[in-house]
């Protein structure tokens, strides 16, 4: 029985075990404060990871999200700086955020179009975009953080509402949205079909390119949202934010059981993956594990978690 439960919910159970262990071992871990902390810290990567789940299920990948976050923070800050004086800070921020979302939606669509018309692997397009967007973010800021936000803007990324950090609500909303999309809409089901068997999906009359492109575009929007939240947290647009996030985000998605080859995966799994990574970082910091050991442990845990998923998967197939 217990074994069966473990076979069905391996990551959930590991997560619970980690919680129990850390509650005893890590000073301050079990406090409400710290739990809120973990939540706030995972929101940004989590929001992107939910989008990335759709992209990977559809059989593609997006390596540009790290720079995308920095880029959209900088765009928002720049627009805010340019418009604040004439239309007031809040409308300016709103317009800035919308600009960032539209731009990154466009970048996602661009990636999708290259995939469609030239069969360009998204791996390569987004790898190139990773560099381009980072350069663009730096060009916007000139290398110096843009500090055009009013102090109250900090609420968005760091404020508390009913004792819970505000971004956590956004995180939950995005989760719900993606959950609904993937399970109860034809777009969501098309993602699975397209990732599982592109040709079959096409022959069933599914617009496979629209599906993939939309997944990339939505992920762009989520990336921009994360960028705005980060900008709010640091009250500035900084080109060096979120460097290397793409790998964390992809790790979280894969740890959550999504197949890199497409067609298989759930956003619920990704939530677990995001929590898993968030707790590792938080727990090790609280345990004062040395920087270097953190790297080693983290890498091994990622490998171990995915390994476990795969081992259980293949043993399930044998029985």
């Amino acid at each position: 029985m217990a074994l069966n439960l473990f076979r069905r919910y391996p990551m959930e159970i590991i997560l619970v075990l980690m919680y129990i262990y850390l509650s005893f071992a890590a000073p301050g871990f079990a406090t409400l404060d710290n739990q809120m902390n973990v939540l706030r810290n995972i929101t940004m990567q989590g929001i992107i990871a939910f989008g990335m789940t759709m992209v990977i299920v559809s059989g593609e990948i997006d390596l540009s999200v790290g720079s995308g976050v920095a880029f959209s923070g900088c765009v928002t800050a720049w627009v805010t700086g340019a418009l604040s004086d004439s239309i007031g800070p809040w409308p300016a921020i709103t317009i800035g955020a919308i600009c960032a979302m539209v731009l990154l939606f466009g970048v996602g669509v661009f990636t999708g179009k290259l995939r469609q018309h030239f069969n360009m692997p998204t791996f390569i397009t987004t790898l190139g975009l990773l560099t381009v967007l980072s350069g663009a973010a730096n060009l916007i800021t000139g290398g110096f953080p843009i500090t055009s936000f009013p102090f109250q803007f900090n609420f968005l990324g760091a404020g508390l509402l009913f004792g819970v950090p505000f971004p956590v609500y956004i995180f939950a909303a995005v989760f719900g949205f993606v959950y609904f999309l993937m399970n109860y809409t034809s777009f969501g089901r098309a993602l699975y079909a397209v990732g599982g068997n592109l040709e079959a999906a096409r022959l069933s009359g599914i617009d496979v390119w629209k599906t993939k492109t939309l997944a990339l575009g939505i992920t762009g929007v989520f990336t921009a949202m994360a960028g705005v939240l980060i900008a709010s947290q640091i009250l500035s647009g900084s080109a060096s934010a979120a460097r290397g996030w793409e790998l964390d985000v992809i790790s979280a998605v894969i740890i959550g059981g999504t197949s890199l080859f497409g067609g298989k995966g759930t956003v619920r799994g990704t939530l677990i993956g995001v929590l898993f990574l968030g707790i590792i970082v938080n727990g090790m910091t609280l345990l004062n594990v040395s920087e270097y050991w953190q790297l080693v442990v983290r890498g091994l845990l990622i490998i171990g978690a995915v390994l476990l998923n795969h081992a259980l998967d293949s043993s399930a197939k044998k029985h």
Binding site: G28, A158, I234, L235, A239, S240, T285
Partner: protein
């Protein structure tokens, strides 16, 4: 043994910060306080996550080299509002009411000090005129990079004519070898390379050696590490001078300031940790510094 806990945050893994950490550990051990070490990897959001975690952990003080003068403010303010004492070192935030104490070796001084030694060298050896290239780290930390590079140029220009032929970024040694190599090629009449950090300096020296331009191109740099000190003592006449910060001392003083603040003692708002110019022209001083470095390990 006291029951104080202090969190110490660096923003990069390199020799400079590692030495600071050693100094911090020494001070923490001496006072019997627990020291938690973190690294923000130059990323503002990672810094926030660290600070929030330390707030939750309930530390008494945070000793930090902030990633950015502005982006680091909100999280540090949150910490301060929770009664945690903030000490900044090496870099600071614009809102100077946040840290109880700020220790640094004035970034501009770092550039100035090397610049002065370069001014003398240019006047004596190059007839008062030089073609100069600089290696910075703008894409990493724009403010500090600019302080050092501009500080260098400002002093080196005193009484001399400088032609700045190239300004590039390269702060990791292996990357700097390439970039400096390219610059040397592009500017056959280059005289001087100034590198604004340790990795850049090592790379620039190696690039000159690779190009076989020893005795034609001279390197000036920043940081006093064992490797750089041995480069100065080398007789190939490439690395002329560096300005050493005293990271170990800085680390020690930063933790001591934090302990003082926790104990409710008065702290100095700004402390300048002196920098130390090391030049090929003053060999005994360099050798003395080398012995000091060896004594730390």
């Amino acid at each position: 043994q006291s029951d104080m806990t202090i969190a110490a945050v660096v923003f990069q893994q390199d020799q400079f910060f590692r030495t600071i950490q050693l100094g911090m550990n020494a001070a923490a051990d001496a006072a019997g306080v627990e020291l938690l070490e973190g690294n923000s990897n130059s990323q503002p959001e990672q810094e926030i996550s660290l600070i929030d975690t330390y707030i939750a952990r309930g530390v008494d003080a945070i000793v930090i080299s902030p990633v950015s003068a502005v982006a680091s403010i909100p999280a540090l303010m949150r910490a301060r509002d929770r009664g945690i004492h903030i000490v900044t070192y090496n870099s600071n935030v614009d809102d100077t009411s946040i840290p109880v104490s700020y220790l640094n070796s004035a970034q501009r001084d770092l550039g100035n000090s090397t610049g002065m030694m370069a001014a003398e060298f240019i006047a004596n050896e190059l007839g008062g005129e030089a073609n100069v290239a600089t290696l910075g780290f703008r894409a990493l930390l724009p403010e500090i990079s600019a302080d050092r590079v501009d500080g260098f140029v400002e002093e080196a220009e005193q009484g001399n004519t400088l032609n700045i032929v190239s300004q590039q970024d390269a702060w990791l040694a292996e990357n700097a070898v390439q970039v400096a190599g390219d610059i040397i090629t592009a500017n056959p009449d280059l005289n001087i390379i100034y590198a604004a950090n340790e990795g850049g300096t090592v790379g620039a020296v190696q690039a000159v050696r690779n190009a076989g331009k020893e005795g034609e191109i001279y390197v000036f740099g920043v940081d006093g590490t064992e490797q750089l000190v041995s480069f100065i003592l080398d007789d190939d006449n490439v690395l002329q001078a560096v300005t050493a910060q005293q990271p170990y001392v800085m680390g020690q003083m930063a933790v001591e300031a934090a302990i003082a603040a926790i104990n409710g003692e008065a702290t100095e708002e700004a402390v300048i940790v002196p920098v130390l110019g090391l030049s090929r022209t003053d060999r005994p001083a360099v050798e003395e510094f080398q012995e000091y470095l060896q004594s730390l390990n």
